[in-house]
């Protein structure tokens, strides 16, 4: 059978990957850095808009389409919390807000969701990172935090 050194190597490797797994579960469920999930009741929308829900509370309904986002540029005050709903109205797109953990796929007719708080003022690029046709490299939106 497997010799004793080999057994030790397997035990060490297993311990390593299991501890990685425990840590990421802690980060997801304990620290709230979780992934988007299935929202069976969310209706795909066709119009993009930024809705103010309250003081520094916003809902962004983002539409990705060949080859821009709708709305393509939004302005919000620093410290705002934004619920981002994202959908594509044509092909696959990406929605990556640089320097944040917002990294979403926009899939036709499937609503994606995440929540993010913008503390630091500045201009955040929203880059489409999934190939979506000949002008894919020009598909960039902006979130301006003032």
């Amino acid at each position: 059978m497997v010799d004793r050194f080999e057994k030790r190597a397997i035990v060490v490797a297993l311990t390593l990957v299991l501890s990685f797994f425990v840590l990421l579960v802690y980060a997801a469920k304990g620290l709230g850095a979780d992934l988007p999930t299935c929202l069976p009741d969310a209706k795909p929308f066709k119009q993009g808009e930024l809705i103010q829900l309250g003081d520094k509370r916003y809902q962004l309904n983002a539409v990705a389409k060949m080859w821009n986002f709708e709305p393509n540029e939004i302005r919000i005050p620093a410290g705002s919390t934004v619920d981002i709903y994202l959908v594509s109205t044509d092909v696959m797109h990406g929605f990556h807000v640089n320097n944040t953990l917002v990294n979403l796929m926009a899939i036709p007719n499937v609503v994606n969701y995440t929540r993010v708080k913008f503390d630091k003022p500045g201009t955040y690029d929203v880059i489409c990172h999934e190939y979506c046709g000949v002008f894919h490299q020009n598909m960039v939106g902006k979130i301006i935090v003032e």
Binding site: D3, W67, V91, M92, H96, L101, P108, Y131
Partner: protein
């Protein structure tokens, strides 16, 4: 004659011609030379891509010739599907002849050969004429010409035919002649790999035949894109193990022999292959972490199973390192690290030139393993998903260990099958180290700029890397240029390899043609019978797949609104364009 690995008598009173006919040599040789000619185009397009992404080329087309995303489609399909699959089939064919000592079944082989050739030509037609600018993931609702889909299906079905109709019957016949022998390790690894290949082809065949082909032909108007994507990654991640396992077969069977030693542990090697069998498939959701429509808890389950499939690679890392140490100590290596000096890094003696391909591949794969675990790490994936971090990663895995071991074995087989000596051996030995340095720089630079936010699959020369563009990202420039430097160094290595490849192909015959492979015996032997018995592992595989995929597929099926087809150059559905004409 007795086989040292398994102790069984080899029933080989057969003459050389009976074992390896001219036609079977032609089959295997053409399965290496044809994809290699395509690979030259694939590598050239890779070089053009790093130039475009560094902003050196700022155009939608390369010199008015091939469009960027058309070139990217060709680069991905040729390098990662056509070249890899061809070499896996050619290597496995040669391995079966070499280990089982039974001739190939020529009728089966010709059918497989013709299907793969016709399939490749159909897909090449679609891609080269700009009818399939959909990248190698071909996500709908972007749609390609039907020849792309039919060609792909013909190609992959052709590639699996020898497994069912040649190798399995030949193994059964071998087993009847050697009833007490256990399945040779090389055969076990190959059979695990092609079992995986069969299983993973089911979902992608469903996607192509029931979703994409009807849409492409206009038989249906709409497609469920999330379902298609989920079926694609049901195939797309196990695919990487289909590339990897033949390299592992080489590392377990050939590498220890080349360094003058033994395989450290035969049971550990078998365990690794069986673990791949059960854990390779139910992991595809780790490509879909950042999308809606699929439950986060199932993404977490796939993350867990992805960590489990890292386990056999950890086992392989240990076993290969232990085998290298054993071999080096047999050659007089001493001390805790001193034995490293006794490995044949630059040797051109006999088959030892192959060592450079394996060791450079393994060093790249170290980084590939680490970056792979980062990609798989659920929430950490949000930092890197679809950034150039990911393309850096897979150029050290499929572009690293897999490509280097496949190029090494191609050169080896060309020489053996033609009965020639490897020509320009020094160039052949230099190549893997240039590739190693090049792709190390490439991966490091792509990782950094990926974390800064640079997207993958993007013609950055037209925007982010163009100083005249409002989208210009000055912080990325130095990393884009380093990526280019790494790419150029690797391509220089490839050019050296080409010299050796064609030199060997046209060198004069000095030996008897054969498929003989250096196969090591094991230091620790005696695997438990369960490690050579597929049944319990196959059952575990099916159960795990059912648990991991039933709910995600139901969720994807529930998407009721579907999408019409689009071409990559118009922001309106294809039907509307055709209606307006």
């Amino acid at each position: 004659m007795e086989n040292v690995l398994t102790g069984q008598k080899v029933a080989s009173a057969r003459s050389r011609d009976e074992l390896l006919s001219g036609a079977s040599r032609f089959i295997i040789l053409s399965e290496i030379v044809f994809p290699f000619l395509l690979l030259i185009l694939g590598v050239a397009l890779g070089l053009l891509q790093v130039l475009a992404r560094a902003g050196v080329l700022k155009d939608s087309h390369y010199f008015g010739w091939i469009e960027y995303y058309q070139g990217l489609t060709l680069h991905g399909v040729i390098n990662a599907i056509v070249f890899t699959t061809y070499i896996i089939v050619a290597f496995s064919n040669a391995l079966m002849v070499s280990v089982l000592k039974r001739p190939l079944k020529m009728g089966v082989q010709w059918v497989s050969w013709a299907m793969m050739l016709v399939g490749t030509l159909m897909a090449a037609f679609a891609m080269l004429t700009g009818r399939a600018n959909v990248l190698y993931t071909f996500y709908p609702p972007l749609i390609a010409h039907w020849t792309f889909y039919v060609g792909t299906v013909l190609f992959v079905v052709g590639s699996i035919i020898p497994f069912f109709l040649d190798w399995i019957p030949n193994y059964r016949a071998w087993k009847r002649e050697n009833p007490s022998a256990r399945m040779p390790l090389a055969v076990l690894g190959t059979f695990v790999n092609f079992t995986l290949w069969f299983v993973m082809l089911v979902p992608v065949a469903i996607e192509i035949l029931f979703q994409l082909l009807p849409l492409s032909l206009g038989l249906v108007d709409e497609v469920n894109s999330l379902l298609a994507r989920t079926l694609f990654w049901f195939f797309g991640h196990p695919l990487v193990y289909f590339w990897l396992l033949p390299a592992y077969v080489m590392l377990y069977t050939m590498l220890p022999k080349i360094v003058g030693g033994k395989l450290y542990s035969d049971p550990a090697a078998r365990l690794a292959f069986m673990l791949f069998l059960i854990f390779s498939v139910p992991v595809g959701l780790h490509h879909q972490y950042t999308e809606g429509g699929l439950s986060a808890n199932f993404k977490l389950l796939h993350a867990f199973l992805t960590f489990m499939v890292a386990l056999p690679s950890f086992i392989t890392a240990f076993t290969v390192a232990a085998s290298l140490e054993y071999g080096a100590r047999q050659q007089g290596g001493r001390g805790l690290f001193g034995w490293w000096a006794k490995l044949p890094y630059f040797s051109t003696k006999g088959d030892q030139w192959l060592f450079s391909y394996f060791v450079a591949g393994l060093l790249l794969f170290l980084f590939g393993g680490i970056t792979g675990i980062i990609n798989a790490s659920y929430n950490m994936n949000m930092v890197v998903h679809n950034t150039s971090f990911v393309s850096g990663h897979f150029h050290t895995t499929v572009g690293g260990l897999v490509t280097l071991s496949f190029l090494g074995i191609s050169l080896y087989l060309i020489a053996k099958l033609r009965g020639s000596e490897v020509a320009f051996k020094k160039l052949a030995v230099a190549m893997p180290y240039l590739w190693l340095v090049g792709f190390f720089i490439f991966d490091a630079a792509k990782s950094v700029v990926g974390i800064m936010g640079a997207p993958r699959r993007t013609n950055m020369g037209l925007s982010y890397a163009d100083s005249a563009s409002p989208l210009y990202q000055p912080d990325w420039v130095v990393w884009n240029h380093l990526t280019m430097l790494g790419g150029i160094i690797a391509v220089v290595g490839f050019v050296l390899y080409m010299v050796s490849f064609f030199g060997t192909l046209f060198a004069k015959r000095v030996n008897e043609p054969s498929t003989e492979m250096p196969i090591a015996e094991a230091l620790h032997d005696n695997p438990a019978p369960v490690l050579s018995n597929f049944r319990p592992w196959l059952i575990a595989m099916v159960v795990l797949i059912a648990i991991a995929y039933t709910q995600p597929l139901i969720e994807a099926f529930r998407v009721t609104e579907k999408s019409p087809a689009y071409k990559e150059n118009m922001p309106v559905p294809l039907k509307m364009m055709q209606g307006g004409q």
